[in-house]
């Protein structure tokens, strides 16, 4: 039997396949399609301190091998999460990670403090890369000083594993990764969506209510893969890779390039059973290639 488990700091995932924030709700929404306990982890929908209505419709545009979204962190706020969602998920045998968002550093901190109280939330993913909100979000993630400031502040109030989610909309993502590592990030996850745009030539208007949105899906995979590879070489903390992963081969590519674990996002919209298919696909790959432990895959690309 091959060992699929991977670790981030002191946290063990039973396999390297997580679902990405904003693409799997709080897990419950995809439970019809699979046994959630088969997943390495579930990164839940981006959460904010206060409820957010998100952006106006239309929020979505299909693009070649991908899609743009402009959801804008619609969520009912952390208190609702604690009261109504946490009780349902806390006994499911997987790792449920909260994706933490804020418009200000204070909001990030206050939200994290509330999450810190929840025993069964083993880690947070600090999102400094949402391109779909007017304040905060990606603005924090595109310069080293602002990224450092958020991470430093949150680190002070949170001692469990903190994964910092990076924006790909930067000249040098490895620099940002090093900066957040320097402030105590236990891992980095990348990539969030690329800022993109869709135009309707017929109406001569933008397709999205917000004009620009976040590009995800296979279209971005080559860029995401390159970024994971660059960041892996730049930092010592584990890298969680994502961006267009549709099958086990894609997931393995990210691991070879340096990812310790992967997240599956947009693929879920195409087929919600893909994450568990990837788990078994990685297992067969390891068996075929005589690899004992999934962690051996990480960064094992032969240059």
């Amino acid at each position: 039997m091959v060992d699929l488990s991977v670790r981030i700091k002191d946290l063990t995932f039973k396999n390297p396949v997580l679902t990405a924030s904003g693409t799997c709700g709080f897990g419950e929404e995809i439970a019809d399609f699979m046994d959630l306990s088969k997943l390495g982890g579930i990164v839940m929908k981006g959460t904010t301190l206060k409820p957010r209505e998100g952006n106006d419709y239309p929020r979505m545009a299909e693009t070649p091998s991908g899609m743009l979204n402009a959801v804008g962190l619609q969520n009912k706020g952390v208190d609702n999460f604690i009261q109504n969602i946490y009780p349902n998920i806390k006994d499911i045998d997987s790792q449920f990670i909260v994706n933490v968002n804020g418009s200000t550093i204070e909001e990030y901190v206050e939200l994290t403090e509330k999450i810190n109280e929840l025993d069964k939330i083993p880690a947070i993913e600090l999102n400094i890369s949402c391109p779909n909100v007017k304040e905060g979000g990606m603005a924090f993630g595109v310069s080293c000083p602002s990224a450092e400031a958020v991470v430093r502040a949150v680190r002070k109030v949170y001692s469990k594993p903190m994964i910092v989610k990076l924006s790909p909309n930067v000249t040098n993502i490895a620099e940002i990764a090093k900066a957040v590592e320097g402030q105590g990030a236990d891992a980095v996850s990348l990539v969030n969506t690329f800022l993109g745009m869709a135009v309707d030539a017929n109406t001569r208007k933008p397709v999205l209510s917000t004009i620009t949105g976040g590009l995800s899906g296979p279209a971005i995979k080559p860029i995401a893969l390159r970024m994971v590879w660059q960041v892996y070489q730049a930092v010592k903390v584990p890298v969680v890779g994502m961006g267009g992963i549709m099958n086990a081969t894609d997931a393995i590519e990210f691991m070879l390039a340096g990812a310790s674990a992967v997240q599956v996002g947009t693929a879920i919209f195409i087929d919600p059973t893909i994450p568990v298919q990837i788990v078994s696909g990685i297992q067969s790959y390891m068996e075929t290639h005589g690899i004992q432990s999934a962690s051996e895959l990480t960064g094992s690309l032969q240059i």
């Binding site: 693409t23 899609m67 979204n69 619609q74 947009t266």
Partner: protein, 257 residues
């Protein structure tokens, strides 16, 4: 009702008019119950440029054969390629999705108003609502005669009226120009509608004016169809709601129309 992703067998693909096709899909195992207004999300693999699935309402179900059918109207690239699929092809489908229309009470008189591909759930509802045919009145609107499909298979379940914008079949004008609206609307207990937004808004306005129970089935741009992407929102009086899980059927009282 548990949602599943399944490879279904296309057992029939019948062209109904110049741009409407009926696709009949068969499941390998027992179908769950599916109600009018619910939809399925279809993967279209045979086209270079399609990435997301495409949602289609269920037109009819046959539990004996484990088949259900879809009414597919050619709108863009995806629907076009889908109509070229042939019997024997396998198609991945996520179903059943969304909410259904509230089934009428035993003695209700109901008005069903359909336009475009919105005809599908109306015919399905007429068929299974369990009312006496004289209590089921269906108005179907289209641009012209050639855009209407043959509804003879549903004739037995109600009374059918047609409108066309050019007057080539039935009443000339939009559905709400049909005399049923001006003369009989108050006689109905429930109004159901599915079709283009403008049409549904016009119907909803008439029903609201007369304070009649009215449900509409919304179509909007969906990425997932099962409630995880939050792309398909409709602004309601209670804030943004997901059309794919909290709809597509909404009571007009909830909408900000």
């Amino acid at each position: 009702m548990k949602k599943t992703v399944q490879e279904l067998l296309l057992v029939d693909n019948i062209q109904l008019n110049h741009d409407n096709f009926k696709l009949v899909l068969q499941a390998p195992t027992k179908l769950p119950q599916i109600f009018p207004g619910q939809f399925v999300n279809v993967e279209i693999k045979k086209a270079t440029e399609i990435f997301l699935r495409r949602p289609f309402s269920v037109l009819d179900v046959n539990y004996e054969n484990n088949t259900f059918s879809l009414l597919v109207k050619i709108l863009g690239r995806g629907s076009k390629v889908l109509t070229t699929y042939q019997s024997g092809d396998k198609i991945s489908v996520i179903f059943p999705l969304g909410s259904s229309f509230t089934l009428p009470d035993k003695n209700d008189r109901v008005l069903l108003v359909g336009g475009g591909s919105g005809v599908a759930p109306m015919l399905f509802l007429a068929k299974i609502c369990g009312l006496k045919p004289e209590n089921v009145h269906v108005i179907l609107g289209a641009r012209s005669q050639q855009d209407h499909i043959d509804i003879s298979a549903y004739k037995a379940f109600g009374n059918y009226y047609f409108t066309t914008e050019d007057g080539s079949l039935g009443e000339k004008g939009f559905v709400t120009h049909h005399p049923v609206f001006s003369q009989e609307l108050s006689s109905f207990d429930k109004v159901y509608t599915c079709g283009p937004d403008l049409m549904m808004k016009a119907v909803a306005k008439e029903a609201a004016d007369k304070n009649i129970f009215c449900e509409v089935s919304l179509e909007n741009m969906m990425a997932c169809g099962f409630g995880v992407c939050l792309c398909c929102v409709e602004k309601t009086k209670e804030g943004n709601k997901c059309v794919c899980t909290e709809g597509p059927v909404f009571n007009i009282n909830k909408l900000t129309w």
